[in-house]
């Protein structure tokens, strides 16, 4: 015999169970998600197998013209696109590594009691609350050799940052680090403050060194949260568009042409909708694969 809770029985008597009410509340969200997320995803998957341009008139057999895996083959065989993938990978490595070093470093510094700790923490978080396009714009000004403060402070005179193919990508990555290191800091700080103090006290009694405590207590216990930050930041770095586009437009030459910028050109300047969809799916698969690797490590770290 079914055992119902008193409230549920009351609701059933009125004609609607708790489960039904829950489903009803969830239904609008599900419908919305289906319409604006799942449907376009499936639709674009279909388009990725067609030679199709959204701005051309729809003529069956011509636009869209179903070409099977032709778009995927074209994208994967395009040497330029592999160059952009390499640039993006370099960028992601620089930006994410920088964010980790800076973010985790600041979190370690902030993980103690001192005056105005709350205020300082809030101030450090400001960059990540700003619009990426605005951040790109003012860092472009900061890097300007004529009136930018960076060259003035470093005594670099006319050193060119954004028009220099050797350092443009680094300059964009520094901006990304400035903006998103606080995010890593926030997660790391949450992890650090959750570590029980008695572990450190026990280590103190054993006269453990600072390095030993860091390696054996701090790092293992904060790793799960750091890995979450790593997943988010890697995904974001692979999708980076705004900052790089505003600061360099993908130049000089192709040195900061990230895959997201190239995808934008393909989809919205050239209106090569089919090929752009295939390209987007390749990027999606790559991001999912990288995220899965991290998630595996995350699960392992949790088990420890």
């Amino acid at each position: 015999m079914n055992q119902q809770k008193p409230g549920e029985m009351l609701a059933t008597r009125r004609g609607l169970s708790d489960t039904a009410i829950k489903r009803l509340f969830v239904l609008p969200t599900i419908i919305l998600l289906l319409c604006i997320n799942i449907f376009p995803l499936i639709w674009s998957l279909g388009l990725s197998f067609a030679d199709y341009s959204a701005v051309r008139p729809r003529v069956p057999g011509v636009n869209p013209n179903w070409i099977g895996g032709g778009n995927y083959k074209e994208v994967l065989m395009d040497s330029h696109i592999w160059e952009y993938f390499t640039i993006t990978a370099k960028y992601a490595m620089m930006a994410v590594a920088g964010e980790f070093l800076v973010g985790f470093g600041i979190a370690l510094l902030l993980n103690r009691d001192f005056k105005a700790k709350g205020l300082i923490t809030t101030l450090i978080l400001i960059p990540m609350m700003m619009s990426m396009a605005i951040v790109g714009l003012f860092w472009k000004l900061l890097y300007n050799p004529g009136w930018g403060i960076i060259n003035y402070m470093l005594g670099l005179k006319d050193f060119q940052w954004l028009a220099n193919p050797r350092v443009a990508l680094v300059a964009v990555a520094i901006t990304d680090i400035w903006m998103w290191a606080p995010f890593t800091m926030l997660l790391a700080l949450a992890g650090l403050s959750a570590i029980p103090q008695y572990l450190y006290e026990a280590a103190e009694i054993d006269r453990a060194s600072w390095w030993f405590k860091f390696r054996r207590i701090t790092l293992p216990l904060v790793t799960p949260l750091l890995l979450i930050a790593l997943i988010f930041r890697t995904m974001e770095a692979f999708k980076m568009f705004d900052i790089a586009f505003v600061m360099t437009g993908g130049g000089p030459g192709t040195t900061t042409e990230l895959i997201a910028i190239n995808l934008y050109r393909l989809a919205f300047a050239q209106w090569n909708t089919g090929r752009a969809s295939a390209f987007a799916y390749i990027i999606l698969i790559m991001i999912i694969a990288i995220s899965n690797i991290y998630i595996k490590y995350l699960n392992k770290a949790k088990e420890m």
């Binding site: 169970s17 039904a20 701005v55 004529g146 000089p252 030459g253 192709t254 919205f268 050239q270």
Partner: protein
């Protein structure tokens, strides 16, 4: 069972309410459209000429009772927003004042209404400057088929610091170094000498500001001026052959020249288009600055430029083979998906009238109307109108084929690599463009 039924009915009710509200909104919108009958939306980029056009539209409204609004978006977003609307077959805009290279796409993909008969009937092909009719209205070129009415004639020109050029000390120093007088350059070689002469990084003053931006068409618009002046071309506009035309020794030399000129630009000038080039003059950064004439009003306005009184203007210099300026400007096209074609035609009819073209010119718009263009009143209206008139006699344009964006992507990338990044040679850039452009033409069946 009862609960299931109720649940089912509630779900159905939710869907019905949702559908009903969508219908109500749609009906309301339609009713709104009915109430706003006589309202026209013209879409253009956000810049001064769009403000002048709105002023002209206000006069149109006073005379006809039809409200005409000029809706704008930043230049960086203009193309994307326009074609997004076309892709959606949307009727948010009735007319678009679109770039000349959009003609092929607008015409062949059905976004623009054909205006051939209308243009001939209203004599627009006779009243407007012939070069502007071809550039802003005709597709395919030479076919006599028209898709737009020229609105804003424009081309690349130069502004310069008269006070520096007329400073006796500077003049003497220049003559001593180069052996001829410091004057407005007549040739590109003279312009390079002047740029080199004024390049003084220690004083934060530089020789010349040129277009270098990789996005959209900026660098191409700058490069075209030298490419044509050196006697090379973008290709054969009839056969679509590119190899052997763009990558001739002259073509390669023109890119090398642009690269040489880039050395004398202000620092970090590898991502510059019209705002940066105007700023080079308003902020006293450079002795000369390349820009479209449509952006010169800001340089002539003392409220916007402290150097307004000492800024002069000149047309593109001569090259070893020719004197050519890259065409800018736009024409107004009726959008196929607009539901107000009658109003759009009414606006065009009013706009092309000679007296309204004169008003357009007086407001600051670069009219293409021959009568207005040649009038002394127009020529003396600003310090740059005469130079503009000269320039409009020597303009050339980029490909207007529907695949112009693919072509632009290749040349912008390769020229940027050669000129700004220096990662490839001008020869490699030109050979690369020839190869990639021919592959694009091949793919889209131009050689069939």
């Amino acid at each position: 069972m009862k609960a299931r039924k109720l649940y089912f009915f509630l779900a159905v009710a939710l869907v019905v309410v949702f559908a009903a509200s969508v219908t109500v909104f749609a009906t309301k919108d339609k009713a709104g459209g009915g109430e706003l009958e006589g309202e026209l939306t013209i879409f253009w980029a956000e810049w001064d000429p769009a403000n002048y056009l709105q002023e002209l539209c206000n006069i149109f409204t006073e005379e006809t009772g039809i409200v005409a609004n000029v809706e704008t978006t930043p230049w960086s977003d203009f193309q994307t927003k326009t074609f997004n609307e076309f892709a959606a077959r949307g009727d948010a805009y009735d007319l678009v004042v679109g770039d000349s290279q959009w003609l092929g796409r607008g015409a062949t993909q059905g976004h623009y209404v054909e205006l051939t008969d209308w243009i001939k009937e209203h004599g627009v092909d006779k009243s407007m400057a012939p070069a502007t009719i071809v550039a802003y209205a005709e597709y395919p070129k030479g076919s006599g088929t028209y898709w737009a009415v020229p609105v804003e004639g424009d081309a690349c020109g130069w502004s310069y610091r008269k006070d520096k050029f007329e400073d006796p000390k500077e003049m003497a120093a220049f003559k001593a170094k180069y052996g001829y007088n410091l004057e407005v350059p007549e040739t590109w070689d003279q312009l390079l000498d002047i740029a080199e002469f004024f390049y003084r990084p220690d004083d934060h003053f530089y020789g010349a500001a040129i277009y270098t931006q990789k996005d959209y068409d900026a660098l191409t618009m700058g490069v075209e001026n030298v490419l044509w002046a050196w006697g090379a071309d973008l290709g054969d506009y009839d056969t679509y052959k590119v190899d052997g035309i763009i990558n001739t020794p002259e073509g390669v030399a023109s890119i090398q020249f642009y690269k040489d000129l880039y050395q004398f630009t202000p620092p970090d000038w590898g991502n510059a288009f019209f705002p940066e080039n105007n700023m080079a003059i308003t902020e006293g950064l450079a002795a000369m600055s390349m820009n479209y004439y449509a952006f010169f009003p800001a340089l002539n306005n003392p409220e916007m430029s402290k150097f307004a009184d000492v800024t002069g203007y000149f047309a593109m210099p001569k090259g070893p083979a020719d004197q050519v300026a890259a065409l800018g400007g736009q024409g107004a096209s009726i959008i196929t998906y607009s539901k107000k074609h009658d109003l759009a035609y009414a606006w065009l009819e009013w706009f092309v009238k000679s007296e309204n073209q004169a008003t357009w010119g007086a407001l600051g718009g670069y009219t293409c109307d021959l009568k207005t263009l040649k009038s002394e009143e127009f020529l003396n209206m600003t310090p740059y109108n005469r130079s503009f008139m000269e320039t409009m006699q020597m303009v050339k344009d980029f490909w207007a084929v529907p695949e112009y964006a693919e072509l632009l992507e290749a040349c912008q990338r390769l020229w940027h690599e050669a000129i700004v990044a220096g990662t490839i040679t001008p020869q490699e850039a030109m050979d690369g463009i020839a190869e990639e452009w021919e592959a694009i033409f091949e793919k889209f069946g131009y050689y069939d």
